[in-house]
Symmetry: C2
Subunit: 457 residues, 2 copies
Amino acid sequence: MTLDAVWPELSDLLGDRVTRSKGELKAHGGSESYFPLTPPDAVAYPETTQEVSALMKLCSAHGVPVVGWGAGTSLEGQAQAFSGGIVVDFARMNRILEVSQGDMDARVQPGLTREALNDDLRATGLFFPVDPGANASIGGMASTRASGTTAVRYGTMRDNVLGLEVVLADGRIIRTGTRARKSSAGYDLTGLFVGAEGTLGLITELTLRLHGQPEAITSAVCAFDTIGDAVRAVTDAIQMGIPMARIEFVDAATVNVFNSYARAGMDEVPHLLIEFHGSANSVQEDAESFGEIVADHNGRGFKWAADAEERKALWTLRHNAYWAILQERPGTRAVVTDICVPISRLAEAVEATQEDLEAHGIRGPILGHVGDGNFHAILLFDPNDSAELERVKQAADRLVRRALEMGGTATGEHGIGVGKKPFMASEHGEAWAVMGALKAALDPDNLLNPGKLVPDA
Amino acid sequence: MTLDAVWPELSDLLGDRVTRSKGELKAHGGSESYFPLTPPDAVAYPETTQEVSALMKLCSAHGVPVVGWGAGTSLEGQAQAFSGGIVVDFARMNRILEVSQGDMDARVQPGLTREALNDDLRATGLFFPVDPGANASIGGMASTRASGTTAVRYGTMRDNVLGLEVVLADGRIIRTGTRARKSSAGYDLTGLFVGAEGTLGLITELTLRLHGQPEAITSAVCAFDTIGDAVRAVTDAIQMGIPMARIEFVDAATVNVFNSYARAGMDEVPHLLIEFHGSANSVQEDAESFGEIVADHNGRGFKWAADAEERKALWTLRHNAYWAILQERPGTRAVVTDICVPISRLAEAVEATQEDLEAHGIRGPILGHVGDGNFHAILLFDPNDSAELERVKQAADRLVRRALEMGGTATGEHGIGVGKKPFMASEHGEAWAVMGALKAALDPDNLLNPGKLVPDA
């Protein structure tokens, strides 16, 4: 291992902020996902962009792989050092550098978590809307092009990152984008690094677009007898231009988990969870229009959250769904699927998934961001039963194939890492080779997060 | 010239759809801008992606430059063949291939114009919102990352192109993106080709995001004594989350042109032109909220368009502003600036521009997309007076330098071409070299629109 060659200089650079302690290596060797533990050779905690640049220059000179680490919440093994090398943990680069209320933007460091950011913004009347559920780091969210429950209204990380500071494979520091709201000045490098999963550079600073906290918020749940009815209600609402801030689907199996986990007392049928943001009048008008659409599609049991407390309870239920589903069977793990399809095909995709899982005896509650056509099946398996894992992986594979046939994508928001890499050739064809050519141009020695996202060199 | 080498095969491929007639060469040698005429060596009119691919393979084998051509409305010389070679005119690839009402998207060919698209969509209840003023081609709009009056609400081409079909320099055909609303499946190639000005590939098909035609629309003008008041009214409205569909600024000099050109009968002071899209109730509520903000900032003379006719007249006035300004002095040409700054600096940027132009005796009415922080000064010069052109260019240069000092960009929506290339190093620093590396990776022989956007090889 070439780490020995860089170690003296790396120690000189970072002192006790670079470590080979077993505990640290182990803590940076796993993820929330089902991939085996892969401890890196060292973990570094830089505090400045200059330190990241110096580290990259050392690693570049000695051919040592480098993998960025945010909050460790990625689901496709993105932050795991499968080829060894150094994990760069951005925990000490977690500051808010500047908030401009006038321009509604903020400069932050990559290790900042989205909850810490929003806590800090509370008094400003602004907020950062992208909400993947987990309390992920902003740098990690940018790197996986995260989105979540609010993307239907506020967009994904692609839409909410205005600019970046990036350290390249050779240690050069570049800035992408500007603080202007739009630009036509050359290639969209910001958009290229967002979603690149640390394979093209390490993000050391982000300029984020903020939004005004809405004057009024209303949330509700309502029940449907069939998935088709629920989905059609949503597509009607989208086409009528009703501005939904959140519109989430949960299937009967997920409601069953809500009931056992949190005594939600809901009918065990498909539900929609919805939220409107706006003025007091507009959210009421939106809610009424949506209510009419729901009635047209045999929706029932419409229940509005009476106050902020109830609203919070509703979304906590949704955000904890993944953990609640995992708790159902002690010691269980899950393969989380993440397909996204054209909305016209969504009901069909969800129904086909349910039939498939049932036919193969797989427990897999379904929930998702119905306004985007994106849903997750949480495919449970016993980690000691490799045959079950294999069966689950095959189901996940069929799910993706169906999504691609429908004009969709293997992943709406979790990214590729290693988990979705087997689908890249099918989804992109020759365009995957183009991604490889871009990678080779910016990281010719394949040191940045090797083995992820692009074709093997 | 190497064209002779490809000519026989090119003629075999396209028949009389490739030409060297003087008239055609001349018609494809200029633009609406101030650049000198540069006729290409040939003009080709492909009808299919396969023909574009075959043409690219021929040109690649013989080292012949290729420049894409849409409607010829670009402002920075993007479609001019400064190094000779073949202009590929997409006039015969101008069809709408598919409209999906359920998914609110459309597949179109690059030569389609935005007006033709919207004419066709009228009966569907959907529309394509990006509106740069000129009746540009969709492929050209994507290539320059165009936006215009509606970007404040609906985004730019970056936000409204879901996927592309692209022919690469070596003739390979790739597809980027999917029909899903979002994806985290690898590098955002769609975003890379949008705004690349044909330097990385030729766009042969686009999947566009459509939007629902609003139920109600209201438009108004109002007057302000100072630019600062007008801009501050807009920033307040943005921070309050009032959803403006259009919010345009015109200075006193532009109003003066409106009055002489179209007898607009407006006070010759700064004005805002505004439009709201939504339900009948919401547009009224928005209009009332906006009215209160305007009053807070000493706005006056609020005049709502009574009906669709009056609304159309208002926006025709705005869209014809460029031509009306040019008509002011017969035979005049213009350097059109396009800076975009953080909104908090917009009033300062406009005022500094006016002072600069006055100090240097340059006639330059100012108008722009105030909600994005983007404005244009139309700097007039006599084409026979090279000293005046030099003076105007120097003023444009100072304007960009000020924008960059304010954290802005040299171009909000017109792109780089050759006109803004001198500013790329200042705006992007080392990141400009990264753009060059990406270009070299995808077009190693520098055949696609050579001389534009990236550093000279």
